[in-house]
Amino acid sequence: MSLQTEMSGSSSGSLSFDQLYELYATDVLRVSYYYLGNREMAEDVTQDVFVKLITNNPVLEEGREKAWLLKVALNRCRDLWRSSWIKKVVLGHPGFECFPAPDEIGQMADQQSLAEAVNRLKPEFKEVVLLFYYQGFNVTEIADMLQIAEGTVSSRLSRARDKLQKELKGDDQQ
């Protein structure tokens, strides 16, 4: 058996690497992109997450695979965010851009506004918004993933929502 096949077949829990990649890699990539605003960095994070999955081969509970992948991705994003290099070189510039389907270019101002507003949130707000509204986790699950109290998740969600609505209203008025 070749190395590649061997690794492609490596599994964590009941799902193989191929299945996990197929199911969740795009989510990991997009969450990382929301966080970092840079496609190359988001791809690097996605790569790191799945390499970790292969090399560490963690035992994941069934149904918890996505939570593990996103948790590792957010940790990696946080590390990158904290490093001064990315703040100065990449994140100091407005790099967030959308990648719409060709037939929808110019017809999705609202969606683009929302995506950009989420990208502009502070990391602690962005994390909960992405996990709650984008990935569909509940408050308890998010608290577990981010290792913070449920009350903190709720208050961050509420404040993030206010901020988003202010931003989106501002966009509408313009």
Binding site: L3, Q4, M7, S8, Y21, A25, T26, V28, L29, R30, Y33, Y34, R39, A42, E43, T46, Q47, F50, V51, I54, T55, C98, F99, P100, A101, E104, M108, D110, Q111, Q112, S113, L114, A115, V118, V129, L130, Y133, Y134, G136, A160, R161, L164, Q165, L168, K169, D172
Partner: protein, 179 residues
């Protein structure tokens, strides 16, 4: 106005072209095929950096010691500021009552003559001057024995260089010791 609840559908549209494709998958598999090296790097790189820093520090200490001893070479020796007139313990030359002066490489010369001892002090204080270049310590010492039995060892390098805080020269000293 669009609501945060619509983030999933908004993202699917706004980031439609941002997907984890086959090339990224191949990159992951390629990277994962070199796990040993990567993990070894993450463990050993900090250790190697630390070793390099310690190594450089050790080299600096050795280099500095070869140019200028950081501490007296043998127990009981004291480095003395030749021009400043004070030893490291703050004893001025004028208060050192010389009973014996010995140069290791030129042999031992006893000075019982107070006048010549005074001349010796005068030379150390007035004629010694900073050397143009630092000269590595060659182990040469001039030992001055005091009345109370205490001995002060001057670091000295041939020809006539005192190696204390700085390197010093004393043009008449060698001649004096040979008399």
């Amino acid at each position: 106005m669009i609501q945060p609840e619509e983030l999933r559908s908004a993202t699917d549209k706004a980031l439609y072209g941002l997907t984890a494709d086959e090339s990224l998958k191949q990159r992951i598999l390629l990277k994962a095929s070199q796990p040993t090296e990567t993990r070894r790097d993450s463990v050993f790189r900090p250790v190697m950096k630390l070793c390099a820093v310690v190594g450089v520090l050790l080299l600096m200490v050795v280099a500095l010691n070869s140019v200028r001893p950081l501490s007296p070479s043998t127990p009981g020796e004291m480095n003395v500021f030749a021009a400043g007139g004070k030893d490291t313990a703050g004893t001025p030359f004028s208060q050192i009552d010389i009973k014996k002066v010995a140069g290791i490489s030129i042999g031992s010369v006893d000075y019982q003559d107070e006048a010549r001892c005074a001349e010796m002090i005068r030379m150390l204080q007035s004629e010694s001057k900073e050397a143009d270049v630092e000269i590595p310590d060659n182990g040469e010492r001039i030992v001055i024995r005091m009345e109370d039995g205490k001995e002060y060892a001057f670091c000295i390098n041939e020809p006539y260089v005192f190696n204390d805080e700085k390197c010093w020269t004393c043009s008449g000293l060698f001649t004096l010791l040979q008399k």
